[in-house]
């Protein structure tokens, strides 16, 4: 069952990723990113990382994509303005993609299939539920908001604060760049 769900989510990701790069209309490409992000969120849920899944939908699916769509709609490219050239670079990219994908698959095949049991046990109690998460990691809510919060604020306080400063700088920069008069 977990395998089936994984395949469904993975197929959703791959198909929509292909749609993103092949669509000629940029608005369609952006819309293609939505099922892609939802598929990624599904993969996170299968890994019991429910907090990451919620964040994936909220931040990428909700906020970032809406802004992408906003910008592309306002630019409003006409189809004839979109260049479509079959260049050598495209085939080079295809070859590189095939190489990397092959390498990843090969490395998994060599490493062997991870032992079953854990995920199935968690799934039996309901994916994303507290019981499932507890079963995954012996009482600690792995991948939940609680465990991520505790890790961030205990082990990684200083990097977290630094990221906060970085984001603040970025926000101030954006405000100064966009406002002519302050």
């Amino acid at each position: 069952m977990v395998d089936l769900l994984f395949l469904a989510a993975a197929a959703l990701c791959v198909i929509s990723a292909c749609a993103i790069v092949t669509c000629k209309n940029p608005v369609y490409s952006v819309i293609g990113m939505l099922p892609f992000f939802l598929g990624i969120a599904g993969l996170f849920v299968l890994l019991e990382a429910t907090f990451l899944a919620a964040m994936q939908i909220m931040v990428y699916g909700g906020a970032i994509l809406v802004v992408f769509l906003f910008v592309i709609m306002l630019i409003n490219l006409r189809p004839e303005e979109i260049r479509d050239d079959f260049s050598f670079g495209r085939y080079l990219g295809l070859a590189a993609l095939a190489g990397v994908t092959g390498g990843v698959i090969l490395s998994f095949v060599r490493a062997g299939v991870p032992p079953d049991g854990e995920l199935e046990r968690a799934f039996a109690m309901g994916i994303g539920s507290r019981e499932g998460q507890e079963a995954m990691s012996g009482g600690v809510l792995f991948g939940s908001a609680e465990s991520i919060g505790l890790t961030l604020f205990r082990q990684y306080v200083i990097p977290l604060e630094l990221v906060g400063v970085l984001l603040m700088v970025a926000i101030l920069g954006a405000v100064i760049l966009s406002k002519k008069k302050l």
């Binding site: 395998d3 608005v27 369609y28 919620a54 939908i57 909700g62």
Partner: protein, 379 residues
């Protein structure tokens, strides 16, 4: 193949809350359309829809069976939603020539789906027990709880945005752009408000938040008392409740925040070009969103399905207590839906720059202050 590890009856019971919640929502939506028209009529001192009923001179019974029911209109207008639905379905499904056909047809689905998904994490009642099997009346008690509500409500912007763009009409585009800006702005306040609620309850799970509202500290008794209205979240987080209700109006694009479809300036905003059932889907989406927001507000701030005396009823019969709790949540949700209708037909519309100013210069600072105060209190 891997075994599922679930027996069939357990799966069956898990389907019960799903069918219950989604069935109830679908059944109530047409009723809300009727209610909105009636409420509007009462406020404007009119009669409202009173013709299409079961009995009476123009009723269904007369039309089909030739039975007039004594010539009196009883519950006239109650079948108006049915007539509306037949009208919507049978109208021409028109797509403007210059519209983007695929996205034009896709947009209504985005308007309909996210409000439905909100109900997934809302506990609709106390646990039912059937022969030793406990059935929690919640579709999925996700560990992330409220974050799910934020996630799916952030997807709601797509319907309006895509509908506005794909119609290839200036009114629709302006409506879509306004809606996106408004929804993103008010989502920030909503997120900050929810943070202070999480901080107060120390939990993200709506189920636990409802449980936490079951007991409260009674200053008269000097001890924890059970199941009082005094335990409602609104007494602990009054500012958060107020801000959340305001944001709920803005998220649902209801008056006084109905900038995206403001008739006076934008004809119909993002759904100007929509007709037939595609318009019907936008329309339904709005009512489901009203229900969803009502459910979230009552769960976070007004005790959810809890009611005074729950503990004593549950001691006598847990299933009866659970059924009453369902009705209690339903009543609370309806109160908030009626409140949204009342506001819609009472208040005038904001100007667009006023909406943005209210959002960024008033609500966000207030939400931040509320967050800091909550953090200090909970230190």
């Amino acid at each position: 193949m891997l075994s599922l590890g679930l027996d069939a009856s357990a799966v069956g019971w898990k389907l019960l809350p799903v069918l219950l919640v989604f069935g109830a929502v679908l059944a109530v939506v047409p009723l809300l359309v009727y209610l909105e028209r009636k409420v509007c009529a009462w406020i404007q001192n009119r009669v409202g829809p009173n013709r299409v009923g079961l009995l009476g001179p123009d009723g269904l019974a007369q039309g089909v069976l030739g039975f007039s029911g004594g010539g009196k209109r009883i519950l006239g207008g109650l079948l108006q939603p049915l007539a509306d639905a037949i009208k919507l379905i049978s109208k021409e499904d028109f797509i403007p020539a210059q519209a983007d056909k695929f996205l034009f047809s896709l947009a209504p689905f985005f308007a309909l789906l996210p409000p439905f998904l909100t109900f997934v994490v809302v506990p609709v009642g106390a646990d039912l027990t059937f022969g030793g099997t406990t059935v929690p009346l919640i579709v999925a008690d996700l560990g992330v709880g409220m974050l799910w509500v934020l996630s799916v409500s952030s997807l709601a912007a797509y319907g309006v945005q895509l509908g506005g763009w794909a119609s290839n009409s200036k009114f629709s585009l302006l409506g879509g752009v306004r809606a996106t800006a408004q929804m993103i702005s008010y989502e920030i306040t909503m997120g900050l408000v929810l943070l202070s609620v999480f901080m107060h309850y120390d939990s993200l799970s709506l189920r636990e938040i409802v449980q936490a509202q079951a007991t409260y500290f009674d200053p008269l008794l000097g001890r924890l008392a059970a199941n009082g209205l005094g335990s409602w979240g609104v007494w602990h987080q009054p500012l958060a409740a107020l801000l959340f209700v305001i944001c709920a109006f803005a998220e649902n694009n209801r008056l006084p925040f109905d900038m995206p479809e403001c008739e006076a300036e934008l004809v119909g905003g993002y759904h100007t070009e929509y007709s037939s059932m595609k318009f019907g889907m936008f329309f339904q989406g709005e009512y489901i969103a009203m229900l969803a927001m009502g459910a979230v507000i009552s769960t976070l701030f007004f005790g959810g399905w809890h009611y005074p005396g729950y503990a004593s009823v549950a001691a006598a019969s847990p299933n009866l207590a659970a059924l009453i709790s369902l009705a209690v949540l339903g009543a609370k949700v309806m109160i908030f839906v009626l409140f949204q209708m009342w506001v819609r037909w009472t208040l005038p519309r904001f100007r667009y720059d006023q909406v943005m100013e209210l959002g960024w210069k008033v609500l966000i600072p207030l939400a931040l202050v509320n967050l800091v105060v909550t953090a200090l209190v909970n230190l």
